[in-house]
C-alpha cells in the first residue's frame, strides 16, 4: 500500500470539498473493496476521504411512496431493514446473497455500486489489463476467462461487474443521487454503470469527485412475485457466475409487468427490454419464460472458458421466473440458490 493522508468528513459538503482539495483522492466507505485493491497496489490514492461519519445512514420513505437508502447505510442494515424486507424483498435477498455477514456489516450502499471487477488480471500487476492500465491490452481475451462477460463486451475488455445488490437495483429501476462541486444530480440506474467499449477504465458515469449520497427506489417493489437466483461455485461467500433478478406483477396467471436483470454476464447489470416485452401480457408458463430467456441471451458470445454461462443463464432465467411466479416467500430468505 502506498502512503496516504486521510480525513474523516463530517458533512457532504466537506467531503466533496476535501476530495477536490487533493491531487489523487478517493472516498472510502466500508473499505472492503478499496483497501483490498490498495493492498495489491491496483488502487494508489494519496488521499482518502473517510465517509463513515457522514449523516447518510438513514432509510426513509419518500414523498412519492418509494424508499430512499442512504449511501453510507451498510449493506446489512439495508438488507435487514423492515421496509426493505417488506416492500423490496428482491433487494434484500440479493444483498444477502453477496459476500459474508462481516463484509455486509462494513460495506456501504455507495461502495457497493462502485466496487470494481474481480477479473484476475485486473488484480495482477504483472499482466496487461486495459481497465487498470489503458492501452496495455486485455489478458482475459484468449486467457483464462471463466468468470468473464458473455454480453456487451468489447475488444478492449470482457470484465463483469461483480455486485449482487446492483442486479436487484437494476430490476427495481433505482435512481442514484450524487453530489459534486456543481450541485446534486440524479442518474437512472441503467445509465449509472456502462459497457466497456473503448474506455474500459471507466466503470460508470460518475464524474471525478462526485459523491453518491443516496439510492432511491420507486414505489413499485414487486414484493409478491420475485426471485434473486445466484449460481456460483459454492453456495455461500462466492461471487456469482450467473445471477438473475426476476420480478413479476401477476393478474391471475397473466403477467402484467415484468423485470429481468442478469448479474455475472456483463460489465453492468444486464437488462433486455425485448425479453421483458415477451413476458408482459403473456401467461406465466414455462413456454413464456423460455422465450424470455432466449431473448435475454440474444447475441451472447462465449470467450472459451465461460461458454457454459450462455446455457447457464438461459436455465437460470427460466428457474428464477418460475420461482417468482410461485411467489417469492416460498424461497429461503437468506439464499434462494439452494434448490
Amino acid at each position: 500500500m502506498n502512503p496516504f493522508t486521510l480525513t474523516r468528513a463530517e458533512s457532504v459538503d466537506a467531503a466533496v470539498r476535501d476530495f477536490s482539495g487533493h491531487d489523487s483522492s478517493a472516498y472510502i466507505g466500508g473499505g472492503t473493496n478499496l483497501l483490498d485493491l490498495m493492498k495489491e497496489n491496483v488502487a494508489r490514492p494519496t488521499h482518502l476521504v473517510g465517509l463513515n461519519k457522514l449523516p447518510l445512514t438513514s432509510i426513509e420513505t419518500t414523498a412519492e411512496g418509494g424508499l430512499r437508502l442512504g449511501a453510507t447505510a451498510t449493506n446489512a442494515d439495508t438488507a435487514w431493514h423492515p421496509d426493505v424486507q417488506a416492500r423490496y424483498p428482491l433487494l434484500s435477498q440479493a444483498i444477502l446473497a453477496g459476500a459474508s455477514p462481516q463484509l455486509r456489516n462494513m460495506a456501504t450502499n455507495g461502495g457497493n455500486l462502485m466496487q470494481r471487477t474481480r477479473c484476475y488480471y485486473f488484480y495482477d500487476l504483472a499482466t496487461p489489463c486495459n481497465k487498470r492500465e489503458p492501452g496495455s491490452g486485455c489478458s482475459a481475451i484468449g486467457g483464462y476467462n471463466r468468470i468473464h462477460a458473455i454480453l456487451g463486451a468489447s475488444e478492449q475488455c470482457i470484465a463483469t461487474h461483480p455486485s449482487d445488490m446492483c442486479v436487484a437495483l437494476a430490476a427495481l429501476e433505482a435512481v442514484v443521487h450524487v453530489r459534486g462541486n456543481g450541485g446534486e444530480r440524479r442518474i437512472k440506474f441503467e445509465d449509472f454503470h456502462r459497457l466497456p467499449g473503448d474506455a474500459p477504465e471507466q466503470d460508470n458515469t460518475l464524474k471525478a469527485g462526485e459523491l453518491i449520497v443516496a439510492l432511491e427506489l420507486p414505489k413499485k417493489g414487486f414484493e409478491k412475485n420475485f426471485s434473486y437466483l445466484k449460481l456460483r461455485d459454492r453456495t455461500s461467500y462466492a461471487f456469482a457466475l450467473v445471477s438473475v433478478a426476476a420480478a413479476l406483477e401477476l393478474d391471475g396467471t397473466t403477467i402484467r409487468d415484468a423485470r429481468l436483470a442478469l448479474g455475472g454476464v456483463a460489465h453492468k447489470p444486464w437488462r433486455s427490454p425485448a425479453a421483458e416485452d415477451l413476458l408482459k401480457g403473456q401467461p406465466a408458463t414455462e413456454a413464456t419464460f423460455r422465450k424470455a430467456a432466449e431473448a435475454s441471451v440474444e447475441g451472447a458470445v462465449g470467450q472459451g472458458a465461460n461458454d457454459f454461462k450462455i446455457e447457464l443463464a438461459r436455465r437460470a432465467i427460466v428457474r428464477a421466473l418460475k420461482q417468482a411466479a410461485a411467489g417469492g416467500k416460498a424461497t429461503n430468505v437468506f439464499n434462494n440458490s439452494n434448490p
Partner: protein
C-alpha cells in the same frame, strides 16, 4: 552495497505522513497509539495494542480469521483502517472471555471439539457472537449460511456448527422463559 532499502510504490512522491495519535477503545479500555493512516485495524490490534488473539489469515476479507466486533457488529478487521474506528467500541476475543472465565461460546467450542489447530477459532467465536447479537439465525441452515464468512482450513465445521447451535438454542430458551 550498503544501506537499507525502503519499500517503493508508485505515487510515492510526497513524504509519508507521520504516525499520529489515535485512541482506540478496545475491550472497554482506551489504548493511546501512534499509527500511520494505512494501519489496518487488524495490525493495530496485533502489532500496536499487543492483542494477538485476533488472527491474520488472508488479509483480504476472504477468511474471517480477523473477525472482531465493532459496536457489537462483526467485521473483518483486515479491511478497515484503525483511524476510521476511532470512537468505536471494539471487542476482540480477549474481551469476550478469559482463562478461568470462559465465554459460553468458548466453552461450547471445547465441548464440541470445534477446532483442531485453533487458528480460525478467535474469528469463529467473535463471528458467532455477532451472529447471536444479530438474532437472525435459528435453524442449522441459517447458522451455516450466516457463519459462512469464517473459513476453517482444518474442516472443523461440524463441531463449529454444533457449538454455535448450542449457544444459540440456550439463548432463545433464556429469552422465552
Amino acid at each position: 552495497m550498503s544501506g537499507t532499502s525502503t519499500p517503493k510504490s508508485a505515487g510515492q512522491s510526497l513524504p509519508p505522513p507521520p504516525a499520529a495519535p489515535v485512541t482506540l477503545r478496545i475491550n472497554g479500555q482506551d489504548h493511546h497509539l501512534e499509527l500511520a493512516p494505512w494501519t489496518s485495524l487488524l495490525d493495530a490490534l496485533r502489532e500496536y495494542a499487543g492483542l494477538t488473539g485476533t488472527k491474520k489469515g488472508c488479509d483480504h476479507g476472504q477468511c474471517g480469521a480477523c473477525t472482531v466486533l465493532v459496536d457489537g457488529k462483526r467485521i473483518n478487521s483486515c479491511l478497515t483502517l484503525a483511524v476510521l474506528q476511532e470512537g468505536a467500541d471494539i471487542t476482540t476475543i480477549e474481551g469476550l472471555g478469559q482463562e478461568g472465565n470462559l465465554h459460553p461460546l468458548q466453552q461450547a467450542f471445547i465441548d464440541h471439539d470445534a477446532f483442531q489447530c485453533g487458528y480460525c477459532t478467535p474469528g469463529q467465536i467473535c463471528s458467532a457472537q455477532g451472529l447471536i447479537n444479530e438474532g437472525k439465525a435459528h435453524t442449522e441452515d441459517e447458522i451455516r449460511e450466516l457463519m459462512s464468512g469464517n473459513i476453517c482450513r482444518c474442516g472443523a465445521y461440524v463441531g463449529i456448527l454444533n457449538a454455535v447451535k448450542e449457544v444459540v438454542d440456550k439463548k432463545s430458551i433464556a429469552l422465552r422463559s
